[in-house]
């Protein structure tokens, strides 16, 4: 086993992959959430401000998805092959959502007619919801596990994915993104729109807490393999604790109108949720409940050590650069949205 700082390469890459996926969920999460709540905003001006609040960022945020896909392909090709061929139908729907969303943001502002803008507003909102739901559905099913054969290929039917747990996680993901998006928009807007977003954010907090509680009960009752780690290692209870504190902090911050801290809290919630899933799933990448021996793990799915070494080098050089210009871009567009001639 090749190691770096005493930790196996494969585990390093699992951490890198997890970090990229968390980064993606936090970053694209707010713009997907902003999209999902778009139709709650009634005035043309509010919608335009909402679109411009994410306009300069959403392309950069989707890059994290591209990097995540590349990271999985490169480090765990067997998992990449199994996951995307298994999720064929939901993933194709997800990809259509990605296309529609990009073009609705792009095309909405190009014509002034009301019907044109309304059409693209609906496309933008629906595609954002579809993306959030399919992402949640896939996350739920990866956590739950799926039937795999000896070649580590999915051996079920795609309707399998529409199980109660998958659907619950899909709804929870949507709720969390909407909450996150409402807070982000609140951070970027002013006066009446801002008040409206405060109310929306509060409602989405309730929506999220209910759906998350349901998913938790369901997990504890029916899916023992997703709670055994935490039961055997009580120290891991710190994760749900952090999450609860972060969620509880959101209404408090909203009352004080401290949107930045609220945004930080919802980001922490997303990260803690994903870490919780990762801890329970590890060392599996895709668990096979019927035949655990066929499960795809960080070891049997991994690329060669040589490739892992190259990948870690690429990540060590690349990540600081990406962070540097992501911060630069966010800093350039910091503060409240002001519509100007370059706006969408």
């Amino acid at each position: 086993m090749e190691t770096f700082l005493g930790i196996d390469y494969n585990i390093w890459w699992f951490l890198v992959f997890g970090a990229v996926i968390s980064g993606y969920a936090i970053l694209d999460g707010f713009d997907l959430g902003a999209g999902a709540l778009h139709l709650f905003l009634k005035k043309e001006q509010s919608r335009r401000i909402a679109i411009n609040a994410i306009g300069p960022m959403f392309d950069g945020n989707e890059v994290w998805l591209v990097i995540g896909g590349g990271a999985l392909f490169a480090g765990f090709p067997v998992a990449y092959a199994a996951i995307f061929s298994a999720f064929y139908v939901p993933f194709m729907v997800f990809l259509m959502g990605i296309i529609f969303r990009a073009i609705s943001i792009e095309f909405r502002s190009k014509e002034p007619m009301l019907w044109w803008r309304t059409t693209w507003d609906i496309a933008y909102c629906v595609s954002s919801i579809v993306i959030a739901l399919t992402l949640g559905l896939m996350l739920g099913n990866i956590a739950l596990g799926m039937p795999l054969n000896e070649a580590h290929e999915f051996s079920g039917n795609w309707l399998y994915f529409f199980n109660p747990f998958g659907i619950l996680i899909a709804i929870t993901t949507l709720a969390l993104f909407m909450l996150h998006g409402a807070i982000y928009l609140g951070m970027k807007t002013e006066s009446r729109l801002y008040t409206k977003l405060t109310i929306l954010a509060k409602n989405f907090t309730i929506f999220f807490v209910i759906s998350f509680a349901l998913s938790t009960f369901y997990t504890l009752l029916y899916i023992p393999h997703l709670s055994d780690e935490i039961k055997t290692h009580p120290v891991l209870f710190v994760l749900p604790l952090i999450m609860t504190l972060a969620i509880a902090n959101i209404p408090r911050c909203l009352k004080k109108r401290n949107f930045r801290l609220a945004f930080l809290s919802s980001s922490v919630t997303i990260a803690a949720l994903l870490i919780l899933v990762a801890v329970e799933v590890f060392p599996n990448l895709v668990y096979s409940p019927q035949f655990p021996a066929n499960s795809i793990t960080v070891h049997n799915a991994a690329a060669s050590h040589k490739t892992m070494g190259i990948l870690l080098t690429i990540a060590l050089i690349g990540t600081p650069l990406v962070l540097l210009y992501t911060i630069f871009v966010f800093w350039t567009f910091k503060g409240k949205v002001k519509l100007d001639e370059m706006s969408l």
């Binding site: 990097i67 061929s85 006066s191 690329a303 690429i314 992501t326």
Partner: protein, 462 residues
């Protein structure tokens, strides 16, 4: 009756990649033109260049957006439809894709926000820097994608581990993989194809303005900038393209034989200007330079060239005539671009360039040339590599996702066809609107619109 999964998956991949490939070359080419235009503006301070730059940034935004959306599809389509291939090449292909994501695409998309929305927010120097970074990002993106594809054409720096179903290629030498025998030639070939795509789009739109007598103060200098780019790179493509063909001769003789429809290994090989391959009779008829191909490869008109007959039946490209035709269309297009640009340069020198209506009309339509050339070039490369997906190692028919059924692929193929048709219509519609709107009025109209929205919007008063 449903078709075979392999045929469907290949149609879907060809369709989605061909559609995607309209846009990234335009982004790369326009990136170059934008860097030149904005550089001229910074150097001269002339408002004409500012308006020109801002107009083309708007067109760039439209093209870039569609390129990203259709590109994300490509990254995942390997996993969805070609799972066995993904497992086989993941160890190699993956590091190139990861490098693309982190070094190139992140750079490009990060600075894109500033390029598109930052004109009034950052200094002109920072904006210019962002434009350059976006251009570099798009160039680097192409590097990694072409490296990965070139590895499929001419694998290097790897060894095979495991057998049968579990066989896969593992990397042994990263730099040998990156600089595999065809990488450099194909990289330059693709870059230049992209520069030409951008240059001819600028030429086309400005030729139309000149014909309509609109925005002349901006259209004429923009036309000259693009004409310079087009002339330099259409000539460079001639050199780089023939280098690439020599590489194919050396590394993929079966593909080369298909490109020229050459069957008989003992004979000298002609070079066709146009023709038709009869696969049954194993003959090619057409207008040819006898011994031309022999000369290109060996510098000798009488040297024999390895023909298709010396390959096993199941290792010959199955669609010889298609490879032949796509290849020859690409060459014809390349020559047309050279002739057209040189002709225009000659009139430019004589000072009568913008008076030649017929020439301007030719340029209006010339936007299609690099697009046809780029697509046909890729069709040649990919159909010519068949029946292999990784040359000499893995057959396309063995590379599929075993769990995906024909019904599922039909479902996604229909979705793609509908969505992409809509996307193309919208793209052309909006491009046309932007063109009609023109460069001179764009900024002024926006200022007016902006002032209007500010007056009527209490939210924007602080």
């Amino acid at each position: 009756m449903l078709m075979d999964v392999e045929v469907l998956a290949r149609i879907q991949f060809a369709f989605t990649i061909a559609f995607h490939y309209i846009y990234p070359p335009l982004s790369i080419g326009l990136g170059l033109v934008l860097v030149i235009m904005e550089g001229m503006y910074l150097k001269t301070g002339n408002k004409v260049y500012e308006q020109m730059t801002r107009f083309w940034i708007r067109i760039f935004a439209l093209i870039f957006g569609i390129g990203v959306a259709t590109g994300i599809i490509m990254e995942f389509e390997f996993g969805t439809n070609w799972a066995t291939y993904s497992k086989y090449v993941g160890d190699i292909f993956g590091s190139a894709l990861a490098a693309e994501g982190i070094f190139a695409f992140a750079l490009e998309s990060g600075f894109l926000g500033i390029l598109l929305f930052g004109w009034n927010r950052v200094s002109s120097g920072v904006h210019f820097f962002s434009t350059i970074m976006v251009f570099f990002g798009s160039m680097f993106s192409a590097v990694w994608i072409v490296v990965a594809n070139s590895w499929q054409q001419t694998p290097a720096g790897f060894h095979i581990v495991g057998e049968g179903m579990h066989a896969r290629a593992e990397i042994t030498d990263f730099w040998a993989m990156v600089y595999n025998p065809s990488s450099t030639d194909r990289m330059l070939h693709v870059w230049i194809g992209a520069f030409l795509a951008g240059a001819f789009l600028v030429l086309s739109i400005n030729a139309w303005y000149i014909l309509k007598n609109k925005h002349l103060a901006i259209a004429k200098p923009a036309f000259k900038i693009a004409l310079t780019v087009a002339t330099v790179f259409s000539l460079a493509q001639l050199v780089v393209g023939s280098k690439s063909a020599e590489g194919v001769a050396k590394n993929q003789p079966a593909k080369l034989a298909a490109m020229e429809g050459h069957y008989d290994s003992s004979a000298k090989a002609p070079m066709y200007l146009m023709g038709w391959v009869n696969k049954q009779k194993q003959e090619t008829h057409g207008l040819k330079i006898p011994g031309g191909l022999s000369y290109l490869i060996y510098g000798d008109f009488n040297a024999p060239v390895k023909g298709l007959n010396s390959f096993k039946k199941d290792e010959q490209p199955p669609q010889v005539n298609a490879v032949f035709q796509f290849y020859h269309i690409m060459i014809a297009v390349g020559i047309s671009m050279i002739l057209l640009s040189l002709l225009a340069c000659w009139y430019w020198k004589k000072g009568t360039l913008f008076n030649k209506k017929w020439l301007m009309w030719l340029f209006v339509w010339s936007v299609l040339l690099p697009q046809i050339g780029n697509e046909c070039g890729w069709f040649t490369a990919e159909i010519g590599r068949q029946p292999w997906v990784v040359y000499g190692l893995l057959k396309t028919s063995d590379a599929l996702s075993k769990t995906v059924t024909a019904h599922q692929v039909v479902f996604s193929l229909i979705l793609f066809a509908l969505v992409y048709a809509l996307l193309l219509v919208l793209f052309l519609f909006l491009l046309n609107r932007k063109i009609q709107h023109g460069p001179a009025s764009a900024a002024a109209d926006d200022d007016e619109l902006d002032a209007h929205t500010k007056r009527n919007n209490p939210l924007l008063t602080h």
